[in-house]
Subunit: 231 residues, 2 copies
């Protein structure tokens, strides 16, 4: 099975509040994005790597994210106007011989090899797989007036993370159909679900956090210290 | 309007992993629980304070949580087997002249006076109010086999926090009915919702976090430093 990993990292990172594009944010000296890519390559499961960055940032990303850490990404491609467009751009650049597509957020550096393997195995079997954690908050559904209409049972509710993995043919079809139908989603799996394909949940970990705010960065630094045994 | 705040702090705190009961955990030298109670009293909105702690811990809580910080809690009562029982114990100890009941987690020290006032005002008007934040994760509903059945639209989904506020008569009735029906929930509002009473959402803040894990504690310390202007 040939696996292509698509890493969308084309967002503006406006929630970080800094002047520097979030692609170059460092976590204990190493760019977050480099850490994420290193975690993917270290898994030993990824045959091809496609990195999606803001248009115009390709040379700088190669020079600062890839080269200093010896990361071999076949393609560094410009992203689109939203996540779906960026993943679609990555998919267009994926080698034709890919059997499985793994999509993983550039801002989730703590992904483990075990999670990647489980997502790929589940996708190979079922068609698609989404790493997710059980929802711990009580969820409420409100109407437009701000009045609670429903408290959905928490059992069976999961918060999606990445990696998400899909059979390549299915994922290409899902993107084409969404494009044709004008369906937009920030959720990669939703495109495949609407084809009626069964998607498996793979239990993830809260440590696999997405670093999108300054507080997340502080938390990520703490996780890194804990992983290094420094508490 | 006479306001009684019930603060459930009777949990075991097993997720902290320490030997010390979580009630005595300190955040920058001050017990988390003391910080939460001080935030409530500082709001100027609370007429009576009822603290619910694990049975047998009442004297130690008075000595370590209340007295050193000059916090005047009318009642310190033993909790029950679950959250509903603990809040029920607090409610039984609430003065009969209470018009509004405010329930607030002992482990949410960053609650603001503005949030408390908004929750009380909404409850006075509508019957009940829940502070909540919009859900940012993609939520999936899965069946028992771990297959995704639904991706509920994220618009209109909120994650409940505390404070939650209720008209006292309504909240007492809700607890009595739940008791009579054998209905159990970790969610205070759910007891009132099932009476058919409209409950308002009050937009909260991510900073109003519940400190239940060691990572939350690290994050709380970072929030405290940020609030102090230390970055």
């Amino acid at each position: 099975m040939r696996v292509t990993a698509i890493v969308p990292a084309a967002g503006s990172g406006s929630r970080m509040g800094g002047a520097e594009p979030k692609q170059y944010l460092r976590l204990a000296g190493v760019p977050l994005l480099s850490r994420t890519l290193l975690a993917l390559t270290a898994s030993g499961c990824v045959d091809h790597l496609v990195l999606v960055v803001p248009a115009g940032q390709e040379p700088r990303c190669r020079a600062e994210i890839l080269v200093p850490y010896g990361i071999a990404a076949e393609r560094v491609v410009p992203g689109g106007a939203d996540r779906q467009a960026s993943v679609g751009a990555g998919l267009a650049a994926a080698p034709a011989d890919s059997d499985l597509i793994l999509v993983h957020d550039g801002a989730r550096p703590f992904v483990t090899g075990a999670l990647i393997r489980q997502a790929l195995a589940a996708a190979a079997e079922a068609g698609g797989a989404v790493v997710a954690v059980p929802v711990t908050d009580t969820i409420k559904r409100a109407d437009e007036t701000g009045t609670i209409r429903e408290t959905p049972a928490r059992a069976g509710l999961w918060a999606a993370q990445t990696p998400q993995a899909f059979q390549a043919r299915l994922f290409r079809e899902a993107h084409q159909r969404a494009q044709a139908d004008g369906f937009r989603s920030t959720d990669d799996s939703a495109l495949v679900e609407r084809l009626g394909c069964p998607i498996r949940l793979v239990p993830g970990s809260r440590d696999n956090l997405k670093v999108t705010t300054v507080l997340d960065l502080i938390l990520a630094e703490a996780l890194l210290r804990a992983a290094a045994g420094g508490g």
